[in-house]
């Protein structure tokens, strides 16, 4: 019997004998993309691409880069003074690090910490075997539910926060889920932070586009959590990109300093398009990433010993034909796997990956690139996953349809991370005995007892026959995703928010907005 004959025989057998009470009950029960978890605790091991020799080699080369070539901290006299005081060799804006200095400083950084949500049930662990998914970050454009590609608005921003709040496999409502370009550039961070607090109770990220906006984020967080709590706990996670190669600029260092001083977490992320910001090789790229992270992460400890900090890696390549960024290809996956290993050896939580793609529409290109990236992200043992849903067109576009497709895949990763259950029930020897050769398991007692949680159930995949799919209008997955997004937004209910707190937040925002004229660049 060939594979396909076996499929046909099974289908026939099903229609002859019926599907049993289990399947009928399940079809009535509704179901969805798996249960909401506050975060994932991986029970599967990490995949590794470097052996001890390779890791030692990269580490030695990174030490050499730090000492010989150095890292620039630009336009920040305080940073340079702090490095000098810590024992670094500062020449102009270039900091040269004696071997071991950064690693010694990082001994005070916590390997695991809690990122608190305003709803304590939604707080997440960062580090160790925990994995946390957060939405796309940064796009100025959206692809909306009417099929238009246009500039994003604050209404889009609220919608993506709502979708992230409702997605059972999303653990954070993220940060800049899209750029609300209809709000002045110097005030939109206030509306963004407010939207995260108002429309979601999952943990959120802070503004990093200017030190004063970081201060606003902390001030608003203090209204929610209280002053003392914020100063002693992590309530925002903040994306600090290195300006690769080997530069930290004024804006990012400014935001880093604010957050580290208030004990908030920084994600030090070399932003790498290999071939442009790093060498065209995996080993060379890893060397540079490690050097940049060591310098940036160690700097947080100069600001405040014990401040939480992540080893971040944004890895893509460029097309050597056109110069355009490419995603989901093998080389950045190897970079991210290797970086995850380096982060574990350093004892820092790790960020990489997501559902990255270059495609302009949520087609098979988008899905292949996203899936290649996302499967790697999980197996690498990534602790914090930005861009986990909604990323389209190299990060220029937040797509509603892609968000829905991606969050379904995140549900699969959540299930995959549970690994193999070896309990007596899972061994199923009684089921094998009961059914025996030549029969089937559709209605057996073990199936009846386990069917509801046995398999991940996609709310978007169409597994029906061609004939049924044809009758139902030959829909592609993005049409089903569009309908699901509309349905979620129609059924959205805000999590409870204390009225006095809401008023205080709005008053703070009004005060800050009144204090300065609108700026649009």
């Amino acid at each position: 019997m060939t594979d396909i004959e076996a499929v046909q025989e099974t289908t026939g057998r099903r229609s002859r004998e019926g599907r049993g009470a289990a399947a009928r009950r399940a079809s009535r029960s509704g179901g969805g993309a798996g249960p909401q978890q506050s975060y994932i605790t991986r029970r599967i091991r990490e995949y590794e691409v470097l052996d001890e020799e390779g890791l030692t080699l990269i580490e030695a080369n990174a030490d050499l880069v730090l000492e010989e070539i150095g890292i620039e901290f630009r336009d920040d006299a305080e940073a340079l003074a702090l490095w000098k005081a810590a024992g670094a060799d500062v020449r102009g804006e270039r900091v040269h690090f004696p071997k071991g200095l950064c690693r010694d400083l990082l001994k005070s950084a916590p390997p695991v910490f809690t990122w608190h949500a305003r709803n304590p049930a939604r707080s997440v662990e960062i580090g160790g075997k925990a994995t946390v998914f957060a939405p796309v970050y940064g796009p100025p454009f959206v692809r909306d539910l009417e099929g238009n590609r246009r500039y994003a608005t604050i209404e889009d921003f609220r919608n993506f926060v709502k979708l992230a709040y409702m997605a059972p496999s999303m653990h954070s409502s993220g940060g800049t889920v899209c750029e609300p370009v209809d709000v002045p550039v110097n005030k939109r961070h206030l509306d963004m932070v407010y939207s995260h607090i108002k429309y979601s109770d999952k943990p959120f990220m802070g503004s990093v586009t200017a030190p004063e906006r970081a201060e606003d984020t902390v001030a608003m967080a203090k209204l929610v959590f209280g002053d003392d709590f914020v100063e002693n706990n992590c309530v925002t996670l903040n994306l600090i990109n290195a300006n690769s190669p080997m530069v930290f600029d004024e804006t990012m260092v400014g935001a880093l300093k604010v957050y580290a001083r208030h004990n908030q977490a920084c994600v030090i992320s070399p932003f790498i398009l290999s071939g442009a910001m790093s060498p065209v090789t995996v080993a060379g790229t890893l060397t540079q990433i490690l050097a940049e992270v060591l310098a940036g992460a160690a700097f947080t400890q100069l600001i405040r010993k014990g401040a939480p900090v992540l080893f971040g890696t944004f890895a893509a390549s460029i097309s050597m034909q056109s110069g355009a960024p490419t995603f989901g290809t093998p080389e950045p996956s190897l970079v991210s796997y290797g970086a995850a290993q380096l982060a574990r050896r350093l004892g820092l939580p790790f960020r990489t990956g997501g559902s990255l793609c270059a495609s302009k529409v949520p087609d098979a290109q988008a899905a292949h690139e996203s899936a290649n990236t996302l499967n790697m992200t999980l197996l690498a043992g990534t602790n914090f996953v930005l861009h986990a849903a909604g990323w389209l067109e190299g990060g220029l576009v937040s797509s509603y349809e892609k968000f829905m497709i991606d969050q379904d895949q995140l549900g699969m990763m959540q299930k995959m991370a549970e690994g193999v259950d070896l309990s007596e029930n899972a061994q199923a020897l009684d089921a094998i005995r009961e059914v025996g050769p030549g029969s089937h398991y559709l209605g057996c007692a073990h199936t009846q007892a386990n069917f509801q949680t046995a398999f991940y159930r996609s709310p978007l995949a169409d597994n029906n026959s061609f004939e049924q799919w044809e009758v139902e209008g030959q829909k592609r997955i993005e049409e089903r995703a569009n309908a699901l997004a509309r349905s979620w937004l129609d059924h959205y209910e805000a999590p409870p928010l204390d009225a006095a707190l809401d008023e205080a937040l709005l008053a703070y925002i009004a005060g800050r907005k009144d204090s300065m004229p609108d700026a649009f660049t």
Copy 2:
């Protein structure tokens, strides 16, 4: 700087400073989906989901199934007699295996062997660190290049053989790449085997739908390779599905016996839709798979000691709501990872996975399901990968467009399998020194020297700007795949075939066709 600002800055920097001679030369050179490899030699490690305790548990449970419940060999007195003589407890058609019997018999099966192609440069290794990709197997329908879903013809069959021959990441032209339903059912195997020999010089698979068709396959192979060579080497790989749960039927056992007697390789593949043919749990499914493979694979050694045999696993689940098969979900991936580990412990080459999906069209659903399956397939350390390209709609359809999209992904897997190069050139310290902080690598000497092979280059992904993509007609990837398939078929050139051999093959086919009336069922 946020991720997206960094993308924008790079793009801007590129347009300001140009892309350098390297990129210009590359854009002139054409390029494609990577170089043709006869097969993949993986330099990356295998991913594992079971520890020693889990593996020992599954093995003990499988032994218990073999001894206590047994496996049926139906309608084959010879098989039952052979098992009795080997020491099994045969009751009716049910064979009960004393602990260790199957494992002892399998000690004579080779852990690695060569599957010979008529072009020796295309011969492949099966086992160890080798991975071999082969196309979809079995669909009665095609989705053609005009967008029609219709029954497959021998012309389609030839086209898929041609595409597999031309695909640089395809290592075999496969077997039943589609069912040529315009040829009588009792004669089409002759045209299929001939097409593989005529239109490709990569290794091919044999017919398994009846013992006499297996004999025809061997007879035609002997015309190509010579009688002695065939009897002492593997020149066909043959798909023997178990009729799970725990049955081998007359047809499959009949084909197995022919091939094993002639020293040809059998792939013993439990065909599992968990919840229908096996328990709904991963551990229960693995137990049953191991028991079935142990019985079927050991049987090949009763037919001919030393005959090559593979541990096969076709793993999917069913929707507990509709009963329909589902693909690319977490549970079958865990099954396949675990089965790969069990195969390695048994010392047998392993087959699983491919580019499986349930979608009716090559959309994001098809791609996510295929990519989830394919990434697992590579990392599991799979030796032989059937259905690696072209599979659509649960295996009912061979799709030209999906074939092209999938083969591009196979090229990525081929590159991924190379792992991390740690040579002095790859370490790129001179490049990091040359470029230094704040500059870029686009034109540096190291990039110039390495850009041609640095990154996998997809022939189908569109990485251009939105504006350029819009000007070029807003094409989805399946439109580009359609054009590429047409271009390949237009430019196809057959590999040389000795005229006398061609005549002998055609004469053999004519003789066989004349010897029996057409049959259509």
